[in-house]
Structures are given as structure tokens and as C-alpha cells.
Symmetry: C2
Subunit: 226 residues, 2 copies
């Protein structure tokens, strides 16, 4: 396992910041850093999960191969832990994770991680906070996807990228149309159609993957109305 210098890492998670000097030292000895290019496969569904994964920088999609078709559960931006649930809930990964841009992750030994939870209450509580917030977000995702029609979901997704990921009204979409469809649970064709509709109605400016929001109020309205 590659030796890293967690102690001086300035991209520590909220939880890791609660570790004391000795624990950080243990972490350093049980942690390996890896770099992925866009499209790189970080974890694979149905493989054994033996490590906790911490996304230090970059952008990752979490996706599941369902019985019918691929589904993107969510887009995760650094910093964040991946597959905590998978590791603790089950020994097998229930989903895949793929880098959408240049991404750096740390693989952390699960027994070490467990020991931190047992020994360091602050650390444990941060992890619980993290899981809790994640679950609340999942709830709302489910709600949105379940009740909105296609146009609202696409509007949602665009707003998500603009507000949560890039904090800008202009950005390069980090995913293909197919991915956008898998993320919103619609077909590639529908996604494409809705984007050109938005373009025609002067809500978006679209140049292949470059997107500029022209009418954010209307977009928000579409997202909310469903």
C-alpha cells in the first residue's frame, strides 16, 4: 500500500479532522491514494468491498445496473465518502462508481476505519451526520423523480449541475445525453428532445456539452411545477 501523508493533507474530511495525531498516523499507514481519469472505474458493482473510499477531489457518478437498464443514483462531488453503506451494510458493492473528471480518491482499510468509530466518538458522530444528510437527500431525490414528468426532471438536473456542482450559469456538462437520461430515469431520446426544446424556447444556450442558462426563473418554475 502506497505511503501517503495524511497529516499534512489539506483535503481532510470533517470526520478525519477529529482524529488525533496518533490516529492520523495509523491512517497514513492504512491508506492508499489513487488517481482516476474521466471514465475511470473506481468501484465495480458486485465486487467485494474491502475498503472505505474517500473522494478527495473530482467528480464521481454512482450507478447501478438494474434488471432493466442502467440507473445513475447520484453525482457526488468531492469531498465525500463513497460506499460507506455498502461496506458496513454488506460485503458486496451494490453499485459502481465512475469518475466523471480527473479524480483523486483514498482507499482506507475498513478495519482501521471501524476502529476509529469505536475509539473516537467525534469521528463516529461526523460519520453519522454524513450518512443522515445523505439519506435525507435520497428521500428528496426519490420524491422528485417519482412525481415530476420528464421536462421537470431535466430542468432539475440542469439546475443541480449549475447550483450544486459548478455554482455557475455556464458549465460543461460532465455527462453524455445517455447519462443524463439514466440520471433522470428517462430515455436518451426524450432527454435530447427536451434539451432542444429548452434551446428553442431560449431557456438554455447549448453547444454540444456546453450549457448556459438564459432564463433561470423559467427553468426553476419548470422544475418546481413538475
Amino acid at each position: 500500500m502506497e505511503r501517503t501523508i495524511c497529516k499534512f493533507c489539506n483535503l481532510k474530511s470533517a470526520a478525519a479532522q477529529k482524529l488525533n495525531e496518533e490516529e492520523i498516523c495509523v491512517l497514513e499507514n492504512n491508506c492508499a491514494e489513487a488517481r482516476f481519469n474521466a471514465g475511470g472505474n473506481i468501484i465495480k458493482q458486485d465486487a467485494l468491498s474491502t475498503n472505505i473510499i474517500y473522494v478527495k477531489s473530482g467528480l464521481v457518478k454512482i450507478h447501478i445496473k438494474g434488471p432493466i437498464k442502467e440507473r445513475i443514483i447520484k453525482i457526488v462531488k468531492a469531498p465525500a465518502y463513497l460506499c460507506l453503506p455498502s461496506t458496513f451494510g454488506d460485503k458486496i458493492n451494490h453499485f459502481s462508481a465512475t469518475a466523471l473528471e480527473e479524480t483523486i480518491v483514498c482507499f482506507i482499510d475498513v478495519t482501521v476505519f471501524k476502529k476509529f468509530i469505536y475509539d473516537n466518538g467525534d469521528f463516529a458522530f461526523q460519520i453519522i451526520l454524513d450518512l443522515s444528510k445523505g439519506e435525507l437527500q435520497n428521500f428528496h431525490n426519490c420524491l422528485n423523480n417519482a412525481q415530476k414528468q420528464n421536462i421537470g426532471r431535466i430542468a432539475d438536473a440542469i439546475l443541480f449541475f449549475a447550483n450544486e456542482i459548478y455554482s455557475s450559469n455556464t458549465f460543461i456538462l460532465p455527462v453524455s445525453r445517455q447519462d443524463l437520461a439514466d440520471l433522470t430515469g428517462i430515455t436518451r431520446e426524450s432527454a435530447s428532445r427536451i434539451l432542444t426544446d429548452f434551446h428553442n424556447e431560449k431557456i438554455l444556450e447549448i453547444n454540444s456539452r456546453k450549457i448556459t442558462i438564459l432564463n433561470d426563473k423559467l427553468l426553476l418554475q419548470i422544475s418546481e411545477k413538475g
Copy 2:
């Protein structure tokens, strides 16, 4: 706050079983038991959440009033903690909980609960396990609901009640058709239609809310095929 006798409670959660004698004593002094009839409102969306809730016995539905219509997130069977995420992730309840049958719950003071997490690693780890498993289940719910068509979702729901809740091929549906629709994300009319279809095709025997599964293989097949 009503004085209860947690020490001799034989319905303790996996986490609570990790508490030592002294902690149990603290728990007793910061915990109130309440009984709800079917239809009783345990927690209400948008109210302040000041307590952890532990479902000791009974059956509960977790539901959200969405922008468009009501949605049932999940059905929870005792024993289980409710709204851990709500309490830690935010101070306001993001959902309501309603009893579906006679249900007993314990309201536990959140600061006491937090203290257990800080002081008792075993306890914290059990809670993390719980949250993790919950999140995995949510993922699969999302998947199922997103990709299946109505008939598959209803089949799913029936199998869920038969396998997870009642462990029997014959049971009394604890929810109305409207609830069944809200649970699967379809309309009341569609739910009703599909049930009568199942009845006509001799997959189910239906007497108002009493359901008997006649052809479980076919039902499973419908559920899987979507």
C-alpha cells in the same frame, strides 16, 4: 417524562443492547413510552424534531407531502429507529410517521442519544450499521420504483407485505388502496384496476383488504420483469 424500565425491556434495539448498566439507567430517565392506535400520528412533517424515536412494536408508514401529492416513502416494522437522519441532519422533520396498527414507540432525548454515540463505540457502530442498511434499501426502492411499470410495482408491494412484514401468503393489507397507490407512486384508480386484474388472472384472492397469494411464481415474475 414518564418513567420506563428500559433495563428489563425485552424489545431493546441492537444498539441499546450494547449499553452498559449505567447508560441504561440514564436512558430510563430520558425516555418516554407512548402507544398509538392505527392511524395515530407519531410525528408530523415540518415540526421540530427534538427526540429520537424508537419503534418497539407495531407498524408505521413514513410519508411526505410532496409539492404535487402525498408519497409514502416506506413501511417500517418494529424494531427500528425512526428519523435518525432527520434529527441529526436537520432540526425539522422532513416527513411524517403514522401508525398502521397498534404501535408502541419510545421517545428518547437526543442529547442523551448523542452522548451514547460519543461514549460508546459499540453503540455508535450499531447505529451506523442501521443507517447503512437503510440507505442500501432506499437505493433499491428508488431503482424499482423508477424502472418498473405499474403492474410490477404493485406486485412488488404485495410481495413486500407477504415476505417482509407478515411472512405469510395470506394477510390483511394494512393500508388503503390510496395508500397502496401513494406507496408505489401511481394513482388510486390504477392500483385498484391492477388488483382486480390480479384477481381475475387467479394470481391473488382478494376480499376487500384480505389478500391471499395464489400464484407466487407468476407474481414474482411480474415483479422482476417490471
